[in-house]
């Protein structure tokens, strides 16, 4: 059986696109740190029993979320997956207070506490939501793409999903439809090596998930998902194609989830050494090094992110619970 080949870190090029400038590049680092701090706090809140339900942490995958959003424009659309805190926080006009409040089930949350971790959306910013169903958002991207094409607005739709979703039937229907109609959709497959416990080495008989693009007549590219600039560059190219009416692209961003699938995962399917090896490729440390930051500077930025998250927790904790009398609101328009 052919096995998915892991990417290796690429050669060091320019640390970041010149257009960002040093401040812009630092902002992207700060955004990754904010995501990391959000999720570490989320984990802590669970451990303390202060949050109800489950969660799927993307710790270790921050470069994919921030790299992708950095390559797009305000007004573009996002369809997100269940491990989607990072994409939400990386997206335009994101509000970390509303994120944390939603995570904690409060009325002030993005979804008034009805959605929670798996369904965070910011519809006003065209963030059309995270999704609890593997590949659930992938067919919806066809409709968003069609709508953009019919309305002739020049927007694009970024749809994020995992390696597991690439084995759902809906994935194939969606890529084919977007391809035959040249829809402005960017398929971003975040290959974090496991669909819950199923490793990509056992779930695919191909070398790259991006190889599947050829079957539908669209370009497929695999990048190091822990390299913010590599993700940015691939998504920027895909967006340019999409805006030029040249149709969709499949991007496979290879990355790794440091934590278990969800809070109950004993991780019997992988070794500690494997996790440690991937932790050496921490996208935050790598990008900080590329920017020439000292350890002290990085730690100062980290502390800033943690302080912001502490404020968000305070906001969420001070926020009201949804009123029981409002329980049926929003079922129908």
């Amino acid at each position: 059986m052919t096995q998915i080949k892991p990417t290796q870190p690429g050669p060091a090029g320019a640390p970041f696109p010149a257009a960002w400038g040093p401040d812009g590049a630092r902002e992207k680092l700060a955004r990754m740190l904010l995501i990391r701090a959000f999720e570490e706090k989320a984990e802590e809140l669970f451990a303390l029993g202060r949050v109800h339900g489950t969660m799927h942490l993307s710790i270790g995958q921050e470069a994919t979320a921030v790299g992708a959003a950095s390559a797009l424009r305000r007004g573009d659309y996002l369809l997100n997956h269940h491990r989607g805190h990072g994409h939400c926080l990386a997206w335009f006009d994101s509000d970390v207070d509303a994120m944390m409040a939603e995570f904690m089930g409060k009325e002030t949350g993005y979804c008034r506490g009805r959605g929670g971790s798996m369904h965070i959306a910011n519809v006003d910013a065209n963030n059309l939501g995270a999704n609890g169903i593997v590949a659930g958002g992938v067919p919806i991207a066809v409709g968003v793409g069609l709508s953009i094409k019919l309305r002739q607005t020049g927007q694009v739709c970024l749809v994020g999903f995992g390696d597991g979703a690439a084995n759902e039937g809906a994935f194939h229907e969606s890529l084919n439809m977007a391809s035959i109609w040249d829809l402005p959709v960017i398929y971003l497959c975040e290959n974090n090596q496991y669909a819950m416990s199923m490793p990509v080495s056992k779930a695919f008989n191909i070398e790259r998930i991006s190889d599947r693009a050829a079957a539908y007549g669209l370009p497929g590219v695999t990048v190091d998902g822990n390299d913010l600039v590599a993700v940015y560059t691939a998504v920027a190219e895909a967006a340019a194609r999409a805006r030029a009416g040249q149709g969709p692209t499949l991007i496979e961003a290879q990355t790794y989830r440091w934590r278990g699938h969800s809070k109950s995962d004993k991780q019997a399917y992988r070794t500690r050494d494997e996790v440690k090896e991937w932790q050496q490729r921490d996208p935050i440390v790598r990008f900080a090094a590329a920017l020439g930051l000292s350890d002290g500077e990085l730690e100062a930025l980290r502390a800033e992110a943690q302080a912001r998250i502490a404020q968000a927790v305070a906001f969420a904790e001070a926020s009201p619970e949804p009123a029981v009398a409002s329980i049926a609101e929003g079922v129908y328009a």
Binding site: G113, G115, P139, G145, L146, S147, R151, A170, S174, V331
Partner: protein, 346 residues
Amino acid sequence: MPDRVPALENLAVEPPAGTREITYVEAVREALRQALAVDRRVFLIGEDIGVYGGAFGATAGLLQDFGEERVIDTPISEAGIAGACIGAALTGMRPVGEIQFMDFVTLSMEQLVLQAAKIRFMFGGKASVPMVLRMPGGSGTGAAAQHSESLENWFVHVPGLKVVMPSTPYDVKGLLLASILDDNPVIFVEHKLLYKTKGPVPEAMYTVPLGRARVAREGRDLTIVATSLMVNRALEAAARLAQDGIEAEVVDPRTLNPLDDAALVASVKKTGRALVVHEAVKTGGFGGEVVSRIVESEAFDYLEAPVRRLAGLDIPIPYNRNLEYHAVPQADTIAAEARKLARGEV
């Protein structure tokens, strides 16, 4: 493109039917044509709806008039069709999808049940999914078990979806336009055997509001609540019963969700007896819901006999013509059941 199109608003509500007669499928097509003509947000998407005109001809000629961008033929991808409708609806369009046979909606279920129905609620009421998914259900064409399903009650069981099931050319036009205007996902169930039935239909656009039942025939002795094709069969049965001096009232809910409880209750209070008829299999069918709404209401005190259900047998639809005939209620079986109920024999 304007966000709101006045032409599709302020339509007449249930205007007089007039004298022009067209078929049910022509009424579907007329509603689609008129919606496409006045509202740039509306587009059609489905399998073989373009050159072929739809498996039952509902979209015949629309491709020629509105072009490939707005009458979109798809590959055989039912999850993709549903997803395409959801994504477009979320971003300002008013898609009308077609599932070629209702049976095939099984391939769209995740998108409809877990996405379309729940997006608004999960997002705290901040998004809406104004889409219509049309699909012909029902048996009677010899198409056997995988092309004859009546699955409407699956959708009734999903909060967030509306379920519409018109039985006349007049209703199908008005309900389809109302469904396109509705800000919620609507499952729009047509019936293959109704497509060729004729009736009076106004030429201008109009709506039949979702959630309003129709008394198809007035009567004092018993109420027959029937859906879709079964309304016609119930009316035929009622005509036979009238010859025996039994006057049946036939009530067509027209939309299963929202359901016009008040109309059902009022009729049963008047007649004191109720028979619920549908084509879908009896167990877990819509009839159970109708019976519950009746017996939970003040109509209970007016009942003179147990409420009865007559529905499809709990079997897949058989191919053989005679077996197929006997799998679902017919005018004669409805009449027989109603007669027993009216005479106090059950």
